[in-house]
């Protein structure tokens, strides 16, 4: 006998609770006293019939309101299988509940009312099932008794939903016409729908393949707990997240990278010969290497991605909207790291499946976000490994779980949707891009150095322009071809039409980024010095310049020092409210999470700063190291 975990999704009126009640009742999982208790409660509702839906209605508050508000778990078994149902309410505001229920499910039952056909919420449930990578979906078209068991009504809904599901990432979808109330095709085949020859709900649940979502290839063993009863034994306790391992096989521990070999797999009764996905075991290794909770044991030739940034789909579960300036605790397998939002790429409108511009996510929102991490994680894409591709975010102050995350991979600095429309670069109508007459590579060969873009960002008065000028002079003297774009220069002329609003600042950066690109493509080391306070704005130039050629330099200086320097008298004006939206005073500055270089100008001299930039360019092979 094995276990199938499944989840049920449907609107209150779709008959979800009745279906579960029917499954439990017909499979004899409702005991006599439970039945009496719902009989008593049904009397209170005064509609005469025993209300099977009451079986699943747990808490008193819900019973009073007549709705379920949280995930409830039910159990029943037949001679073939044990079943665990995660019963989740289908209201729009309870996306988080369905995500929770779906996270451990191998099958989802999506209920559709035959009278209403495919509604938005049916699509939403399909989308979540796809997002959470539930291997099997069963679409139960319910209340067939109310459409006279019409085959045509059934076929129409199947056609509509199939068309929708094809746009999603679901391998296995089965449709079954039922009446939960009358019991048609739930446990017993219906006598009133002889046109339907497929399985009943229960038959499908009993025979669908379990374990289809489990990764049996990639061995991943997150260490939970170190077992050390004395000096002579040291074992690593954990549950095999995926794959399998046997004594004698070579392993490597992450993050240390130390290699060893499995000595034994210990269990109380007797040692085991192979530990497989889902097994809780204790592993001992041949060598005395340092491994602790949060480390991961993997095979030498099959390692997960080790990364300090991730790109993930997020379901926000907290009443309080996401604050993108905060740090979160990210819990992944047995490992906790600090995480900060690097980039909100989009929010998914789960009714239209359109990607929308977003600054942050609110309760029940689903979106795609890049995070920067304080320490590395060992991850796989959620699509290939649910165990090592999933995580939660925890609010470090309130301690509650605020989000569920599904990893796509390392962050790629994907441009946010809608924020900088020119990420799909703006092109005037009717123009054609020809390759440059002299290719950049040819110029680079001739001049003996590579082209690059240096992007100096920092508060006003931090020293960007001063360093940029000194740097350009040094490079010029060494025979390097340079170009310089200063924030104040572009505000005269090129960007003179722009204000300091959020949108205009973004446009300013876009124009400078494009200008820098033109200079770059003609072989220049192009030095841009702009406050450029927003991370997502700075993502634009990074996006249009090839990887390895864009250098973000954080000219870092504390605000007080900048105020004291105040070379242009701007801070004084800002503090006197003569200038609005002044970065550092009345507008935010978002420091780069991982700049290529950080220069602390309150500690370094101008020459030292220039030395560091030159050293970085040499080390990266942009300029010859003797230059």
């Amino acid at each position: 006998m094995d276990i199938l975990r499944f989840t049920t999704a449907g609107h209150v009126d779709d008959g979800k609770s009745t279906l579960i009640g029917r499954l439990l009742y017909d499979s004899k999982a409702i005991h006599q006293d439970q039945y009496q208790s719902i009989e008593r409660a049904s009397l209170g509702q005064g509609d005469g019939a025993v209300n099977l839906a009451l079986v699943t209605d747990g808490l008193r508050a819900e019973r009073e309101q007549g709705i379920t508000i949280d995930v409830a778990y039910r159990y029943f078994s037949t001679s073939r299988r044990k079943f665990i149902i995660a019963d989740t309410p289908g209201h729009i505001q309870y996306t988080r509940n369905m995500v929770t229920g779906a996270s451990t499910a191998e099958l989802a039952i999506i209920l559709i009312d035959a009278r209403n056909g495919v509604l938005q919420q049916s699509r939403r449930h399909g989308f979540i099932a796809s997002l959470l990578q539930i291997p099997h979906v069963l679409v139960a078209i319910n209340k067939m008794d109310l459409v006279d068991y019409s085959e045509e009504a059934y076929r129409n809904i199947v056609g509509d939903y199939r068309e929708f599901v094809e746009r999603l990432d679901i391998d296995d979808v089965v449709f079954i016409p039922i009446s939960a109330l009358k019991g048609d095709n739930v446990v017993e085949p219906s006598k009133r729908m002889d046109w339907y020859r497929g399985p009943t709900i229960l038959h499908h649940l009993e025979t669908v393949k379990v374990g289809a979502g489990r990764n049996v290839v990639d061995f991943r063993f997150p260490v939970q707990y170190v077992i050390r009863p004395g000096q002579r034994f040291r074992g690593y306790a954990g549950r095999v997240a995926s794959g399998s391992i046997a004594p004698g096989e070579d392993i490597v521990a992450l993050p240390s990278g130390k290699e060893s070999r499995i000595r034994s797999i210990v269990c109380m009764e007797q040692d085991v010969q192979r530990a497989r996905a889902g097994d809780s075991v204790v592993i001992t290794v041949e060598d005395n290497i340092d491994i602790g909770r949060g480390d991961m044991i993997v095979r030498r030739r099959n390692k997960p991605l080790v990364t300090r940034s991730i790109d993930a789909d997020i379901c926000w579960m907290s009443e309080e909207p996401m604050n993108t300036n905060r740090r979160w605790i990210l819990q992944h397998t047995t490992r906790n790291v600090q995480a900060a939002v690097g980039n909100v790429i989009y929010r998914m409108n789960i009714d239209t499946l359109h990607r929308e511009t977003a600054d942050a996510l609110g309760l029940n929102d689903i979106g795609r976000i890049e995070f920067e991490l304080a320490d590395p994680l060992f991850v796989d894409a959620y699509r290939v490994n649910r165990e090592t591709g999933s995580f939660i975010l925890i609010d470090p102050d309130a301690n509650n779980t605020v989000a569920a995350g599904m990893i796509r991979g390392a962050a790629q600095h994907v441009p946010p949707v809608g924020r900088t429309p020119a990420m799909e670069r703006l092109v005037s109508p009717g123009v054609v891009w020809d390759e440059l007459f002299i290719a950049r590579e040819a110029r680079e060969r001739r001049q003996g150095h590579q082209a690059a873009v240096l992007w100096m960002t920092g508060l006003s008065g931090s020293g960007k322009s001063t360093i940029a000028r000194a740097l350009e002079k040094r490079l010029f003297e060494q025979g390097v071809r340079t170009m310089s774009i200063d924030g104040d220069y572009v505000r005269h002329g090129l960007c003179g039409d722009l204000s300091f609003s959020e949108a205009d600042r973004a446009e300013n950066i876009r124009r400078v980024g494009e200008t820098a690109r033109l200079c770059f493509e003609q072989g220049n080391i192009t030095i841009c010095a702009l406050v450029s306070p927003r991370r997502r704005d700075r993502a634009y130039p990074r996006h249009v310049i090839p990887e390895g050629r864009f250098f973000e330099v954080h000219v870092d200086c504390d605000l007080e020092t900048c105020k004291r320097r105040d070379p242009k008298g701007l801070y004084k004006k800002a503090l006197d409210n003569e200038i609005r939206d002044f970065t550092g005073i009345s507008a935010p500055y978002e420091p780069p999470e991982y700049p290529e270089l950080r220069l602390q100008t309150d500690a370094l001299s101008v020459q030292e700063c220039v030395d560091r930039v030159v050293a970085m360019l040499a080390a990266q092979g942009i300029i010859p190291s003797t230059a």
């Binding site: 276990i3 747990g58 008193r60 508000i69 409830a72 509940n97 451990t104 204790v282 301690n399 779980t401």
Partner: protein, 298 residues
Amino acid sequence: MRNLHLERLESEAIYIMRETAAQFERPCLMFSGGKDSLVMVRLARKAFWPAPIPFPLLHVDTGHNFPETIALRDRLTREIGARLIVRTVQDSIDQGRVKEEEGPNASRNLLQITTLLDALGELKTDAALGGARRDEEKARAKERFFSHRDRFGQWDPKNQRPELWHIFNGRKRPGEHFRIFPLSNWTELDVWEYILMQDIEIPSIYFAHEREIVERDGVLLAKCDYVSLANGEAWTRETVRFRTVGDMTCTGAIRSPAATLEEIIEEVASARVTERGARADDLRSEAAMEDRKRQGYF
């Protein structure tokens, strides 16, 4: 024969126990001597083998226990070298923390909440492992594996953390604690099958035996010093067994000839009454369990 679903449940429970030991400073295992807590002890031994169980067992003793339960408790803890801590409702009464109920239906079931919370506070327990299962009662169906309790030990069904995949968030503020239920996904039948598979010793009162009982409001109560007869009642001798081993004043027996584990499993598999159905305290009101849980009951 491999029993795949029991192996999965066992593996899950062991995983939860290890998470508890790793995430908390002072966990304890709630031990009643009943079959569920005996299964919990077996799982805890397996989870940390070959090391001993890294946390103590805590027994809240109502003083109205079946003597068979206490004898087994003491023998078991001696055998496996576990640390046992016993706190008694009698002490709470003597200290004036609670007042004994009176009348023929007097029970110490409610009083033990105070003793439990006092003990958890005294031991500075930040995680109490319990053997409760979601299938036992409606109010438990939404219970978490890691169930957060506020400073007063109270459970707020609206303020529980979502539990996703197998990632458990045990972070808390000082003074708060967690109740942790590794057997959440088990059913009564799973517990019995596991006891059989693992050959776990359980108190003899689970098996059919002859005993003097009185039937009250549909519940069969055992003859003991703590149950007194009301008007018109009389002791009768019958073949019964118990499905739970709580307080003798409210734990009902069932008429049953099941004298072996196999017979019990057969009986449970075809049972028409849930095991809590034999507990008088749950019949007091429809939402009885939910009320007790809010106050800190297990």
